[in-house]
Amino acid sequence: MTIDTRSKGMSKRRETREWMPTAPPQLQTATIVSREFRPPGFWCVGLREPEIAKNIRPAQYVAIDLPGGFMMRLPLGVFTADGEHFTLIFQEWGDRTTRLAHMAIGETVSFIGPLGNEFALPRAGSNAIIVAGGLGISPFWLLARELHAANVNTTIVLGARSKAYIVGARELGTHGFHIEICTDDGSDGFHGTVVDRVRTMRRAAIMYGCGPPGMLRALCAFANSEGVRCQISMEETFGCSMGTCWGCVVAVRRGSTQGTSYPKAPGEQRDFDFARVCADGTVFDAMDVVWRD
């Protein structure tokens, strides 16, 4: 039994993985090698950069500097990575994602990465459930690959508002794990939310979640009430992506190793600290996240 301290929130828990430092972030250049539109509004863009393809860990992301005078980099989780290539899966919804979606093959982009912490892995032979809402699938190809290699029996629950919005299932299926589809409108698979579906499933040693805040909150509430360990990868608007600007904080339980643990000001009443999603996360333990209204 060894202690996994790569994910700071995990430091006091038992893990099978030996400690292995993540590669330090670097300022690098990647070449666009493929771009594929996925209706109704998603893109999967492939890039070539051998270091990141080799070193990226599940839930880590890159911060991309796009041409066009944008003030902030675009942070995107790495979806797949193989050989010298990695892919990003995203929805075209703003100026920066539109710019990336319409870059030509052969163009280069500057990026910083790998950034962020990573998911912890359970013991070999145990069970895990991956719960993804929509584009929340993005960190799970890398995680599923690790879980497969670690001989962790994994079920993937993938949800979206309707069948058309299920994205990335094709790639995720390549690891051979069973994928359960859930749709809010019943147009495919289970008619209901991913958390509704997970409630009916056999208890796992660990659950992993990524998706919209409402889904993550419900998943954490379920996991905590059942006493099941759960890690979620969160999203916020990042300013710097480096942990310097404090623009992307999330409330975590006081005492969490990921929070600031600043002392309280005189007369201050609070049972949480802030943590930076970009640098202390993006992975947080369900037990640590404080959902404030």
């Binding site: 500097d65 600007c245 600043y262």
Partner: protein, 330 residues
């Protein structure tokens, strides 16, 4: 014109009071946290100095989310001075300042004159700290009508109180949201400020039209980035006619050409903030562009660029030629 260097190399040094910086490019407060993060991906030593995120007396949780919004040509932020407070800072962060590979300017924020003075005094003497910057103008914290930088008497009181307590040079950071910056700048100089940082973020707001509510949890925020550059250049231009102390021109600098605008308007040094996020090597590009401009104009001292475009520039043309530097060169 100043041609201080005798060995043919450019003299990039500038002086802020008794502090001599290796070059005039400074990381602005709030973008470099406490100095550690960017060292992983860029050469921080190429900065003349980095300015720390402002520290207050008490710990501050900061504002709720969202704290950041993209804006046309810039970024709107309202972090709310999140920070550990001076005691925690001294115990946990201050020792690490010794690892910062360049000079450090400690930024101090406060809500009373005494708080400014106490926190500034605690910063005096920390490793690598060469100057104290007073964040008398942070527009993000909800204290409307109490902003020190909006009133000549308030800014003078803060500067005077801090000067009595610290040996290091003191920089007052001016807020652009005032009718006339010149009397405020003059008041800061007369109270003993060794330099001025011009300008802080410009107050701004964005509204989510779908929800009919402000985007930022704090409603208002500070606008930074190139959107504010012409405002900042003009502010430096005006202040440079009103004071003789050095000015750190800050606001929307993204490249060397932008920095030159500030120097020509009358700044002795330039601050880079938001642009670090997009390009962590921005300071190196800016520095090299300044050196190229000196070469083009056959100047050997960076101070000779100061005020070139400003016929009413009131400061000394040769900002680099403080007696301290002259002594060193001799």
């Amino acid at each position: 014109m100043a041609r201080l260097a005798t060995d043919g190399t450019n003299d990039m040094r500038i002086a802020i009071g008794s502090a001599v910086l290796r070059n005039p490019v400074i990381a602005a407060s709030g973008c470099y946290n406490r100095g550690a993060e960017y060292g992983r991906i860029t050469d921080v030593s190429r900065y003349g100095a980095i300015t720390l995120k402002s520290i207050t007396r008490n710990p501050r949780l900061g504002n709720d989310m969202p704290r950041i919004a993209a804006a046309p040509g810039g970024m709107l932020n309202a972090i709310g001075l999140q920070g550990p407070g001076i005691e925690h800072f001294l115990a946990h962060d201050a020792p690490k300042l010794a690892d910062v590979p360049t000079a450090v300017i400690a930024s101090v924020a406060g809500f009373t004159v005494e708080e400014f003075a106490d926190v500034a005094a605690a910063m005096d003497g920390l490793p690598n700290v060469v100057a104290i910057e007073l964040d008398v103008s942070c527009p993000n914290v909800d204290r409307e009508g109490q902003c020190f930088a909006a009133d000549t008497q308030s800014i003078a009181a803060v500067v005077r109180a801090v000067k009595l307590r610290v040996k290091l040079p003191v920089i007052a950071k001016l807020m652009p949201n005032v009718a006339d910056l010149k009397p405020i700048a003059r008041a800061a100089q007369e109270a003993g400020a060794d330099a001025l940082c011009v300008i802080n973020a410009v107050r701004g707001m964005e509204i989510d039209v779908m929800r009919a509510r402000p985007i930022l949890a704090n409603s208002t925020g500070g606008l930074t980035g190139p959107a504010i550059r012409p405002i900042a250049v003009h502010a430096v231009w005006e202040v440079a006619q009103a004071v003789t102390i050095p000015i750190i021109g800050t606001g929307g600098i993204e490249k060397g050409r932008d920095a030159l605008e500030f120097l020509f308007a009358g700044a002795t040094a330039v601050g880079i903030g938001t642009a670090n996020f997009r390009d962590p090597r921005v300071h190196i590009h800016v520095l090299e562009a300044i050196e190229a401009e000196m070469k083009r104009r056959t100047l050997t001292s960076v101070g000779a660029l100061t005020g070139l475009a400003n016929p009413d520039f009131a400061g000394q043309k040769v900002a680099a030629a403080s007696s301290l530097i002259r002594d060193e060169i001799r």
